[in-house]
């Protein structure tokens, strides 16, 4: 019988692997940023899956807090990366014009 936490934990690992593969293989900056976000969700899923202790027990709060922190850090990193890619885009344009 498949335990809930095992199902979601393995799903998290597969998602993280998919995100990692795409982050390495894609060439487009925004696609890579997207891939890193998927990688992050995969890792968070492993955390939350380990926190889950069945339908009747309250889950472990520590991984929940870690994941909350992680989500905010991930969005901060995404914003910075998108800012950098915008800067690159502007620089590209300048060199094209010359």
């Amino acid at each position: 019988m498949l335990e809930t936490s095992t199902l979601y934990g393995l799903l998290g690992i597969i998602l993280a692997a998919l995100g990692l593969q795409a982050a390495i293989l894609q060439r487009d900056a925004i696609r890579r940023i997207l891939a890193i976000n998927v990688l992050g969700v995969g890792v968070f899923l492993v955390f939350i899956a380990t926190a889950y202790q069945g339908a009747d027990t309250p889950p472990d709060a520590v991984p929940h807090a870690l994941v909350l922190t992680g989500i905010v850090v991930a969005v901060a990193a995404t914003a910075l990366a998108l800012g950098l890619q915008r800067r690159l885009e502007i620089l590209d344009e300048d060199t094209d014009d010359e």
């Binding site: 998602l15 487009d28 939350i48 472990d60 914003a79």
Partner: protein, 317 residues
């Protein structure tokens, strides 16, 4: 019977997440990829709800699919249409090497995960949290961990957010504002914004005893700033000049101040006196919310607001 239905739901959510992730990462059009990523965020929020992590589900619904989606769309608009590159393929040997390496890594991680599950012995940190919860000043265990037991993490997280904000501000002027919206968007924004603000206030308040708190509230307030911006209003709801900067550092600042003040009372850094803990946590959360909101709206603008540099620009001209 109950179990069967749950298993069906689990399998559905898992399949959906897998398919959405693959489709979002590898579809032809990047715009569609971002759209699929937002839907992926929605399904992820359902998975968090299913795994009894309502705090995380709230944050995912607000940040993961909402704010991150708006950010990615803004990033996509930075592209000039003629430059929207199609998928560039890599040579087969690179694809194969990376794929096999990643599969190897995933198998190792799965083995470690299954092994850890099979040998699940020893006390969990969660039990310690439950035991000490009464002394934390709040009754929601996740808030207790974030703002009391592991307050260092949260302080540093606010610092990371501030660092990202400084990085974005250093990159130049803000993105061009969208043009003024028509009446439909204006009306939608006119009643959506107050609702977002009220819900944010509510989440901040209930965070002490139920799922919610500074991050979720900050993300919702930031969403309010983002829709005001999207409606073509140049003011985006933030105060001007020095006040924005004060707000952006207020989270870290108040947090550090409280931490140092508790040292003055003879305790360790960030070790609050037990009878004050609830009040101090609320104080920190209010300023953290304001700082998170300010930072998220400013990074959405993508650079220094025009109002900051207009003085300098006039001087140059």
């Amino acid at each position: 019977m109950t179990f069967d239905a749950l298993l069906v739901l689990d399998m559905l959510l898992a399949t959906l997440m897998l398919m959405l992730a693959i489709a979002a990462l590898h579809c032809e059009s990047l715009r569609q990829g971002i759209f699929l990523y937002i839907v992926f965020g929605l399904v992820t929020a359902l998975a968090w709800a299913r795994l009894k992590a309502p705090d995380v589900a709230l944050a995912e619904a607000a940040i993961g699919s909402g704010v991150a989606g708006a950010l990615l769309l803004a990033g996509l608009r930075d592209r000039k249409p003629r430059k929207q590159k199609s998928l560039l393929r890599r040579p087969a040997w690179q694809v194969l090497t990376v794929t096999y390496l990643v599969i190897g890594l995933a198998l190792t991680a799965s083995w470690a995960f299954l092994d850890a599950q099979a040998n699940d012995v020893g006390p969990r940190l969660g039990a310690m949290v439950q035991a000490e919860l009464a002394n934390s000043g709040v009754s929601n265990p996740v808030t207790a961990v974030l703002l009391n037991f592991r307050a260092y993490d949260t302080l540093l997280e606010l610092a990371v957010l501030l660092a990202a904000l400084l990085g974005v501000l250093a990159l130049g002027p803000e993105r061009a504002a969208p043009r003024a919206a028509g009446p439909v968007v204006h009306h939608l924004v006119a009643w959506l914004t107050p609702l977002l603000i009220v819900t944010a206030g509510y989440l901040l308040w209930v965070g002490a005893h139920a799922p919610g708190g500074a991050f979720q509230a900050g993300a919702l307030l930031a969403a309010a700033g983002i829709v005001v911006r999207l409606s073509g209003n140049p003011h985006n709801g933030l105060p001007s000049g020095i006040w924005v900067r004060m707000l952006a550092v207020a989270g870290c600042g108040v947090f550090m101040f409280v931490g140092l003040a508790s040292m003055g009372g003879g305790a360790n850094l960030l070790q609050y006196p037990a009878n004050w803990a609830g009040t101090l946590i609320l104080l920190i959360e209010v300023f953290a919310t304001l700082a998170i909101t300010t930072s998220l709206v400013l990074v959405y603008l993508g650079g220094q607001p025009d109002s900051w540099s207009s003085g300098r620009r006039k001087a140059r001209a």
